[in-house]
Amino acid sequence: MAEEAPKLRVVGTRPIRPDGVDKVTGRATFGADFTLPGMLFGKVSHSPYAHARIRSIDTSRAAAVPGVKAVITGSDLPEITREEAFVGEAPMNFRDLSQNVLARDKVLYDGHAVAAVCASSVAAAEEAISLIDVSYEVLPHVVEVRDAMAEDAPILHEHIRTKGVDPKPETPSNVVSRVEFALGDVEAGFRQADTVVEREFTTQAVHQGYIEPHACVASISPDGMATVWCSSQGQFMVRAYCAKLLGTEISRIRVIPAEIGGGFGGKTVVYLEPLALALAKKSGRPVKMVMTREEVFRATGPTSSAVLRVKVGAKSSGAITAAEMTLMYGAGAFPGSPVQLGCMTGFAPYDLENVKAVGYDVVLNRPKAAAYRAPGAPMAAFGVEAVLDELAETLGIEPLELRAKNAAKEGTKAAYGPKFRRIGYRETLEAAKSHSHLQVPLGPNQGRGIASGFWFNIGGQSSAAVHVNEDGTVLVVSPNPDIGGSRASMAIMAAEVLGVEVEKVKPIVADTASIAYSDLTGGSRVTFAVGMAVVQAARDVVEQLRARAAKLWDIEPDAVVWDGGEARPSSSNAGDFSPLSLADIAAKAARTGGPISGKANINASGAGPGFGTHICDVEVDPETGRVTVLRYTAIQDVGRAIHPSYVEGQLQGGAAQGIGWALNEEYIYDDSGRLQNPGFLDYRVPVASDLPMIDAVLVEVPNPTHPYGVRGVGEVPIVPPLAAVANAVGRATGVRCFDLPISPPRLLHALEERRSEAAD
């Protein structure tokens, strides 16, 4: 049951985060900051070809470099057959993962790892890498989605037959699967429409862009017990994936999480850790591996490039009668783009009777796509929200009005299946409508764009432990790496339940040997699901505290209440006892039964879906196509903001990433399939001077299934900005761009074309 009581003491305040001082002083240990005595340095050799068969690999010259202690190639990793590729019901294909981590018979993208070495110095390791002799048979490659889907496209995997089509194909294809979600009858719906807008869009692959490159240290003792220190979004994920890839038992690997310098989904998978372990095993020494920035771009998954078609029909009143989209997403070298999630999320903010979404997962010669903040959703939302903007303009309806007319609400059946429970989409539209941003007058060459977005948010397996220390201070132990300030929220929630000052509650992120299993940090789940576990563990502690007080007073536990951080008799009938604080009870723990500690291990369900509505003002320089973002407001239903500053931070950070995606970020390939911009110079993320202040508006429509009403917040913010920016540019110039990024050469070209058309 949700506690909608307004009298929460700590929840909603803004204490200083517990790990903050270490982070502002440089003391915090991130993945690359860790060292072990006797450590070697590992480096990876990468393919320079987008697609090639490996005829042979000769590592003898590399092995002969002074200081080199071990060299590995794909043959050093156990083979995982297709039958063994999946573990349980999880979607990870471990055969593909193993082949991604070290190529086997083929390299499938520029940057694909082919070998790794470890040596006593980085310089020796780098020299050894340059001496790895790989004989390649270069094959034709394909890097664009449409090209990969073509009849005569070079095939990446001979065994792939498109799933989800009828009849079952017999020839290999780069189209891995077709998925479909539908409700009602879209053809009938379009017939009923007064206006139909249909557009085709393209978006480019963008990288999560975390500032910290992947890094780890792996150590194996002679008896095979391994320890890995690494920054990742889930130490249990690292443990499980490494165990599977190396063919060892899970209990033989312990993963200790370092602080993580950004993930956004890009660190929900392993690249270096299995290699470091294999090298540590072969050399008998600990091995440290750190990626360079170039390796991060070339050899770790960005998100998918996409081609999409969106068609929406509406009555002149603005009521949508049918909505359809076709999405084609590039998975990279191995199957598994987030196209299904795109299909499920694109139309989710709307209450639609007739809706159909079809998605194609396509492999091509690029790094295997990895999750990026609301994977699959931003591209689909770009198309949908841009078409809605055109529809609004054509029908003469305000963009917010059009959305409000069709907004999903409690009870709406989403296109992807479930009925929404309590959601806050309308509330974000109302907040947008009344926001002062809309009152700011626009000048010449300026335009305002509006867009909405949705993300499911997830729950998942989560564990927590709450220990009462001998002096009455409290330790909250949870498993999830803190990528956005979640530690502070864990402390806040525990403090709220226990009724103590938040400063008395210390949160720690524990390693795989010190806390029970937890799904990784992602899916906007930590504050919701791990928070739920923390609350349950803290409540467990409260029950124990009541029982201990009861023992001390020699009354029944039912006669004890826990209130304001103290145990009290429930009434004068129970007895006339002075209240006992946590410290009082902790001091007597030994004689009342032993250490006081609570735990919770759950599989949290009931995550509340999140909705956002963004408003973006831009100014366009008509002579150069340069776009300046003047003003940005991000409004989101956050359920309940446990620590409002960090919730605002999620909205602002996601919006900034979306703005970059819309305007300047893209993977650029040359004709030979080589990545042209594997660095921050030419992979252009927004810098401080590119952005205005981002007004983050937190709308709180509590999620009924969380004790404090929490909804996940981290992913929604990146979903609306692509269209918010594109719609703003469209309104500023009268020219709509359907291809992202709206970089100046593209926009200027479009403006010039329109100018010359007008002149004709």
Partner: protein, 289 residues
């Protein structure tokens, strides 16, 4: 593994000796903001690094012949903090200031920017427009050269083996003259120029342009000093017609490429736009001078 040697000479002569003895395997280090990146990527593999920052002439800023002599290793931040120089040559100052971030400005030098010979180097069009010269030291002694003689192609200079850049000279600022530099980048900072335009002009009491130098960057293998652009301005009052002719001449002079930063079409168009805008600013400055 090759071991790289390092030397930090304290005189020009010592530096020349080191460069000559290295037989072409040495590289000069000033700010290092290009060299270190290139060494890391394997593009440059010097056997010897010659750090010239301890040579007094390379770090000095002083008035000379009514103009200014600036050491080739003076950092951008030092240049722009100078009490007088930026006001006299604001176009050169803003061009230099545009190179990279604040951190890069703490190190990057005019000498490095020129000798790295990137077609998109920001300071070069402004220095060309200013009519700056450079002093080069080498085994044959010192010589002076115009900026436009130095870059011969992307990453290539006309400096002979054993030669290095010691200092620059900016001429005296004439009355009624002003300079300006604009560049186009997709973000607001941190990008390599997609197009750069430097304009230096002089107007007489009637507002008529009596001299002009216009240089374009990032639109050809080297920065271009475009005579036709100057001719479009000289003898005019920089009215709309003259500005239109200037823009057309700038676009016509472009020989750009399509690359990851811009297209031929884009660079050609924007060269004209920036030339015009830079000329307008230079004119403003000239009028108030």
């Amino acid at each position: 593994m090759k071991q790289i040697r390092f030397a930090a000479p304290t005189s020009v002569e010592e530096a020349v000796r080191l460069l000559v003895d290295a037989g072409g395997a040495a590289h000069v280090l000033a700010g290092g903001t290009d060299l270190l990146v290139q060494m890391r990527s394997g593009l440059r593999r010097p056997d010897l690094i010659v750090d010239v920052k301890r040579i007094p002439e390379l770090r000095a800023i002083a008035q000379e012949d009514g103009g200014w002599r600036i050491g080739a290793a003076v950092a951008g931040a030092e240049f722009n903090e100078h009490p007088d120089l930026p006001a006299v040559w604001p176009g050169v100052a803003e061009a230099f200031d545009l190179i990279g971030s604040t951190q890069i400005q703490g190190r990057a030098s005019l000498g490095g920017n020129l000798c790295n010979a990137s077609p998109a180097a920001d300071s070069v069009p402004a220095m060309m427009a200013a009519g700056a010269t450079c002093r080069i030291a080498g085994p044959g002694g010192a010589r002076e050269a115009n900026i436009e003689e130095i870059c011969t192609g992307p990453g290539q200079t006309s400096l002979a083996q054993g030669e290095f850049l010691v200092s620059f000279h900016l001429p005296a600022r004439a009355v009624g003259s002003g300079d300006a530099y604009l560049r186009f980048i997709p973000r607001t900072e941190m990008d390599i120029a997609v197009v750069g335009a430097g304009v230096n002009l002089t107007v007489d009491g009637d507002g008529q342009c009596t001299s002009a130098r216009v240089a374009l960057g990032a639109v050809a293998p080297t920065a271009l000093l475009v005579q036709e652009c100057a001719e479009a301005l000289i003898g005019t009052k920089l009215d709309d017609r003259a500005m239109g002719a200037l823009a057309a001449a700038a676009s016509a002079a472009c020989r750009p490429i399509d690359d990851k930063r811009g297209t031929v079409e884009f660079r050609t168009k924007v060269a004209g736009v920036l030339a015009r805008r830079a000329a307008a600013i230079a004119l403003e400055r000239a009028r108030s001078n």
